[in-house]
């Protein structure tokens, strides 16, 4: 079987037509017609043009235009077919590649479509859905599990705060804590006190009852007072101060130069703090607080409504000149 270009050329010569005449008739550039006859389809602007020009040429010569166009389509198949069927994907059946162009394509697509989704699609979709659900629930469960310990830690850390500040004696829970905390603390008694409070709640893993673990009492002193001691343990305890609020008062406590706590004490709250060397107490309402130093009542540290800073040592106490009012007034 002769090729498209050859057939066209022979027919043209048989009819005794020049390329110019054909070009004039079809308005197709003579160079392109030459390219068609030489079967250099890549010189034509594109598949669709090549096909259509050949079709028109064949029509003009009275040849079977469809067959010719199909022939060209086959010759140009690689560049044309791939994009054409790209969207139908793997589903495009192989026979399509051979059949020439138009109408069959639509029908084929329709039939592949029918085959594609009547059975194939819902099943994997459903399976995928179930898998997705399982994965989601798994992730959620894992998330919940990882979250719980964190929660527990959080409560352990946050709960003692009010306990130590607003209910200083913490009488009811104290006996419970006493035996427990010393046990965990007994082994590293020499450890630096300021780091300990932060770690202890997490380490013993005893969240709820270990509320005052944040303020770990020294092992030796622990057994002695019935009230919850609120001091870092370093060496021997020489200063023990019991603060009793008669009126609501803001209180800040430093033991041995380290910040221990600050907060507002409500009326009739009592709190005991201990230090080995010195203890600094700053009162927002000096007249509303009575202080007992090592079992010796000292009474109020100043008039009501005044701010006082007091240094306690084992020997006694010293009111550090109220520093606050001065800088406060000066700028005003």
């Amino acid at each position: 079987m002769t090729s498209v270009g050859e057939t066209l050329r022979r027919e043209r010569l048989r009819r005794n037509l020049a390329l110019d005449q054909i070009s004039r008739e079809l308005k197709i550039n003579a160079k392109m017609l030459e390219a068609i006859e030489a079967e250099e389809f890549d010189k034509l602007p594109g598949t669709i043009f090549a096909k259509n020009f050949v079709r028109q040429y064949a029509h003009l010569l009275g040849l079977d235009e469809d067959e010719m166009a199909a022939e060209v389509q086959r010759a140009l198949q690689p560049p044309s077919e791939i994009p054409r069927f790209a969207e139908s994907g793997k589903a495009a059946p192989v026979p399509i590649q051979v059949t020439p162009i138009h109408l069959p394509r639509v029908e084929q697509w329709e039939s592949t479509g029918d085959r594609g989704f009547s059975w194939g699609s819902p099943l994997p979709a459903l399976a995928l859905f179930v898998v997705a659900m399982l994965v989601c629930s798994g992730v959620y469960a894992w998330y919940q599990r990882t979250r719980h310990p964190v929660l527990a830690q959080n409560t352990a850390v946050t709960e003692p705060a009010p306990g130590t500040q607003s209910v200083p004696p913490a009488l009811p829970p104290a006996p419970v804590q006493q035996p427990q905390v010393p046990q965990s603390e007994a082994s590293p008694p020499a450890a630096p006190p300021q780091t300990q409070p932060a770690h202890t709640p997490a380490v013993p893993g005893a969240p709820a009852p270990g509320t005052s673990a944040q303020n770990p009492p020294p092992p030796r002193a622990a057994a002695a007072p019935p009230v919850a001691p609120v001091t870092a343990p370093t060496g021997a305890i020489t200063v023990r101060v019991q603060i009793t609020a008669e009126e609501p008062s803001w209180v800040l406590v430093r033991t041995d130069g380290k910040f221990l706590f600050s907060g507002t004490m409500e009326a009739n709250q009592t709190r005991t703090v201990e230090a080995s060397k010195n203890l600094e107490l700053r009162l927002g309402n000096a007249g509303g607080v009575t202080v007992v130093l090592n079992g010796k009542a000292i009474g109020a540290m100043g008039p009501k409504g005044q701010v006082r800073t007091v240094q306690f040592t084992s020997g006694g106490f010293q009111i550090v000149a109220a520093p606050k009012p001065v800088p406060l007034i000066d700028p005003l």
Binding site: P45, I48, E87, R105, G113
Partner: protein, 341 residues
């Protein structure tokens, strides 16, 4: 993107050619799943949709008093918003079959000279027909893609999409429209012209369906190699009784002359406005015709004679727009480039 591929298991994205005469729906991975006339038959008493598509077309002009067959699209745009919405809904359902767990993304081809109001109407009715995303693309552009023109190259391509309501002429280069124009003369206008002609010349009244059949059977734009004749049945206006006459292609050609001239004029204007570099490309490649109107006999020959340019017809002119729109579904980067919203 991953979610999208997951969703596509539950619903396929759709490309819709919402045409004045025919609506085609292309489902991603399935091909053309719906190809039906844009006609809806509605029961006036109950307000219910009696039929859509082919069934409704059978009813066109043959309905009893309580049923009206409506063509909700006119001149390429929505004329009846509610009915269009119902029609779209029906076609989308049909395209999907039973499974529509996730609302599909929809790409719709619209005429190039569409107003903002008309654009909104198309988008709204698609959203109301439960689309999750709607993209509009210019018909001429997607027609060129569907016809297989190399539009991404920096060279001029001229495409003429003759649809039911509008004729879109566009010069495209580098996936952008250099010039586009849309005239509201196309298939339906030709049907009207045939009806008017027969009424004037033979006092014969015919319906839209018959007029369309005449146009398809014997309509032409340039003298044919061998003449065609056709028997036409209609109602004689004067006698008021059914009559049968025989007409030949030259008469119908006369009746269509005005419409064809309008289309050719639009092409001429487009050629005049084309930048010279692209004109050179077009003189080599010529014009590509798509849309149902391209199947009018010898229209390519007529345009070739009038413009002196080679004229090609797309492989499947009726489906070029929807095939091109369908191509968008798998190439969202190109879609973003040519989307007009």
């Amino acid at each position: 993107m991953n979610f999208r591929s997951l969703f596509s298991l539950f619903s396929s994205d759709l490309a819709i050619d919402l045409g004045t005469a025919n609506t085609l729906v292309y489902a991603k991975g399935k091909g053309i799943v719906v190809n039906e006339p844009s006609i809806v038959a509605i029961n006036k008493n109950t307000g219910e949709v009696e039929a859509v598509g082919k069934e409704a077309k059978e009813m066109l002009g043959r309905t009893p008093g309580n049923i009206v067959a409506i063509k909700p699209m006119k001149d390429g745009v929505i004329a009846d918003f509610k009915v269009t919405e119902r029609m779209l809904n029906y076609f989308i359902q049909k395209a999907h079959g039973r499974k529509m767990l996730v609302h599909p993304r929809i790409v719709i081809g619209v005429p190039s000279e569409i107003t903002q109001v008309e654009k909104r109407a198309v988008m709204d009715s698609a959203y109301r027909a439960k689309a999750s995303e709607v993209h509009l693309v210019e018909q001429a552009m997607v027609a060129a893609i569907g016809a297989g023109l190399p539009i991404t190259e920096p060279s001029g391509n001229m495409v003429v999409d003759i649809g039911g309501g509008t004729t879109d002429v566009a010069v495209i280069s580098l996936s952008g429209i250099v010039y586009s124009r849309s005239v509201r003369v196309a298939g339906n206008e030709m049907d009207d012209a045939v009806m008017q002609y027969l009424k004037r010349k033979y006092n014969l009244l015919i319906g839209e369906r018959t007029a369309e059949a005449i146009k398809i059977e014997v309509g032409s734009a340039f003298p044919l190699d061998k003449p065609l004749t056709m028997e036409i049945k209609g109602r004689n206006l004067i006698e008021g009784v059914p009559r049968t006459i025989t007409i030949d292609d030259s008469e119908i050609r006369d009746s269509l002359a005005e419409c064809v001239a309008t289309i050719i004029n639009a092409i001429r204007v487009a050629l005049e406005r084309t930048p010279p570099e692209l004109s050179a490309d077009i003189s080599d490649r010529g014009i590509v015709l798509t849309g149902g109107g391209a199947m009018l006999k010898n229209l390519d020959k007529r345009i070739r004679e009038e413009t002196g340019l080679p004229v090609s017809i797309a492989d499947d002119p009726l489906a070029s727009v929807v095939l091109g729109t369908g191509r968008m579904l798998s190439d969202f980067r190109l879609l973003r480039k040519i989307s007009i919203d």
